[in-house]
Amino acid sequence: MESSLNLSHDKVNFAEIGQWNFSVGIGIGKRTNPLFDGKDTPLYLLPSVSYYGENIYFDDGVLGYSYEVSPQLYISAITQLNAHAANFSQWHPGNFLLPSSSQASNNLPVDDKSDSYFPLTSEEVADTPISVSQLSKRLWALDAGIQVNYFAFQNMMVQLNLLTDISGVYNSINGQVKVEKTWHFPTLKPLSIKLSTSVDWYSEKLANYYYGISDKDNQMSASYYSPTSGNNITVGLTANYQLSNKWRAALTYRTTSLGSSITKSSMVSENTSNIFFIGAMYNF
């Protein structure tokens, strides 16, 4: 069992019960948008809010009620926004809180030349990238479901969740398996390094709602696309260095390899989506 001294200093992994926690990250970073003509999100200021009661908790957009089966095993009922909509939205929390990036260049090989009016074959239409701005609106979905966290030996954590759309947006389910391992160094106590990997499974209905192209998008029928279910695979590294009781330096890099049924969509231009941030976190 962790000593109270360690707990009070380890604000990364532990929270004081009954207290609101506010922190802000100041630094430089970027979240890339894999959609064609999609805007990357610059990361300069990262606000973070959390509250942990005996059972209920809120942590950066996740609202949960957890039951401690044992000090190693927690089962929670959670609700959170589905992150797939972030690529389509101009109003997701990041874009709202952070300065928006300059308009990404439009690489559509059409419009500025008269030959764009020549008829295209079905194959050419299917291969033509479709800008996110040409698509119908994709709404935010609110998911809810069950999450299991198992804190295993040697600072390992396994997290499973199975969520369903409760907002009637894509009317289906998604799930995740995540494994994290944190290293601490006796010779350099302020430093901790965490490696994580996760597999995010998405259903066919979810893929169709966000990445499918149909008559609702007002595109030529040759470009219609109905993706199947699939998996996004993420690998991440986070390093924290505690500078004082309030400040710590943080570095994170996360890359997500998108499932092939998503990358085959004409609206997707990149096979991966990445997050990078380096800066300092201040706890109020």
Partner: protein
């Protein structure tokens, strides 16, 4: 005659006082004053409130009558003794939070009780965060 009268008065008075004493000192109240249950130590310090206190305690109890008695933590039976009136022994107990131990007879009538106070070493309590502290979509 007068002496007889006084003697009668005294005997009535003694019967009255005796009756009064019988009424005041009932068997139950006599038992309550004579029963005792002492646990030492009677405090337990855990790392944080909510943790289980697992500790060897010295239990001493005494009753005026030899009988079968059991020690309870609320409704949970910890240990029973057969035909005893005086016990002093060590017991390993596990309790979560401040707990009242009671000694009861076979009819579940409480003979004596005592409280073990559980204190946390830290006034603030912590729990694991269930999500990375800052996340970006």
């Amino acid at each position: 005659m007068n002496g007889n009268k006084h003697l009668k008065l005294l005997s009535y008075l003694s019967i009255y006082i005796g009756g009064l004493m019988t009424f005041v000192i009932t068997p139950t109240s006599l038992a309550n004053t004579l029963n005792s249950l002492v646990v030492s130590p009677n405090t337990c310090i855990v790392n944080k409130l909510g943790d289980v206190c697992r500790k060897e305690l010295t239990i001493k109890w005494k009753t005026p009558i030899k009988a079968n008695y059991c020690l309870y933590d609320k409704h949970r039976k910890i240990k029973c003794w057969v035909n005893q009136s005086n016990i002093s022994e060590s017991l390993l107990v596990s309790i979560k939070g401040t707990t009242t131990l009671t000694l009861k007879d076979e009819k579940k009538q409480m003979m004596a009780s005592t409280t073990i106070v559980v204190n946390g070493a830290t006034s603030t309590r912590f729990r694991r965060r269930l999500r990375a502290d800052w996340s970006v979509f």
